[in-house]
């Protein structure tokens, strides 16, 4: 009999702040995710060439304000079925428009606790993608 080892979802966390990475890593790991972390865009892109991600969490500000959005767009093109969460300063029309237009699944505010973000992500994973894929 053939058996296939089941693994938890593989998640990429991209954030410029090491404390935030650590919090998200901890919360997502508790939810059964396998985590790859990146603190800058080149590392995130390198990670995308070496892994198949089910979940991607990106700060809208990685190195500078707004640079997380195009990264979300690139990740959506590479992993069209992946859940993509973006952490932004606040949820306004511009942020929500950026999320839609860059293929993000959900927007979180910077003030949200890592456990809250992880919980929302883990709830959404099975139904994340109705979009172009």
């Amino acid at each position: 009999m053939n058996t296939v080892a089941r693994r938890g979802p593989k998640a990429l966390v991209v954030h410029g702040d090491i404390g935030s990475i650590s919090g998200l890593q901890d919360a997502l790991s508790r939810g059964g995710c396998e985590i790859v972390a990146a603190r800058d865009l080149p590392t995130a892109l390198l990670a995308a060439t070496h892994n198949f991600f089910d979940v991607i969490v990106i700060s809208s500000r990685v190195s500078e304000e707004g640079d997380g959005w195009p990264l979300a767009g690139v990740m959506h093109m590479i992993f069209p079925r992946a859940y993509i969460g973006v952490i932004a300063r606040d949820k306004n029309v511009c942020t929500l428009q950026a999320a839609i237009n860059h293929g993000a699944t959900q927007v979180f505010e910077t003030k949200s606790a890592p456990a809250e973000i992880a919980g929302a992500i883990l709830n959404k994973i099975p139904t994340s993608s109705k979009r172009v894929q």
Binding site: M77, P80, K91, V93, L96, I100, Q106, R131, V132, Q133
Partner: protein, 128 residues
């Protein structure tokens, strides 16, 4: 492509622009009219809909119905009245693109071509 807007000038202008770019364009001037045209043959590749027509945010119903089609088209909302509530709903529905009026047509066209290419690639992948 189906363009839905209760302002006939806007719908006709968009039709002219997209026809010049090679799209076969149909227009509808209300949600009710759009819902009748969604299930046409050959299936639509793109639906661009206004939000506020017969009532506020009714364009989301067009988007929702389009997403339920057997072969869902790329769904674009084009509105002058985006707010946190309808934009959040559009994100929750996983609409493909949100353009605010006056829309940058060059940018919209670029986005459409990218979204159509992604969809085409995915469909070719599924067929293999």
């Amino acid at each position: 492509m189906l363009i839905v807007d209760d302002e006939s000038n806007v719908a006709r202008t968009l039709k002219m622009v997209f026809e010049r770019e090679g799209f076969d364009v149909q227009t509808a001037f209300s949600c009710a009219e759009a819902l009748k045209l969604l299930d046409r043959k050959p299936p639509l590749d793109v639906v661009i809909t206004d939000l506020n027509m017969e009532r506020e945010d009714i364009g989301l119903e067009v988007a929702r119905a389009a997403q339920k089609l057997k072969k869902p088209p790329v769904v674009v909302i084009c509105t002058g009245y985006a707010n946190t509530s309808n934009a959040q709903e559009a994100l929750d529905m996983q609409v493909d693109y949100l353009a605010t009026k006056p829309a940058d047509l060059r940018e919209l066209l670029t986005a459409l071509r990218r979204l159509l290419a992604m969809r085409g690639a995915a469909q070719r992948g599924l067929a293999q």
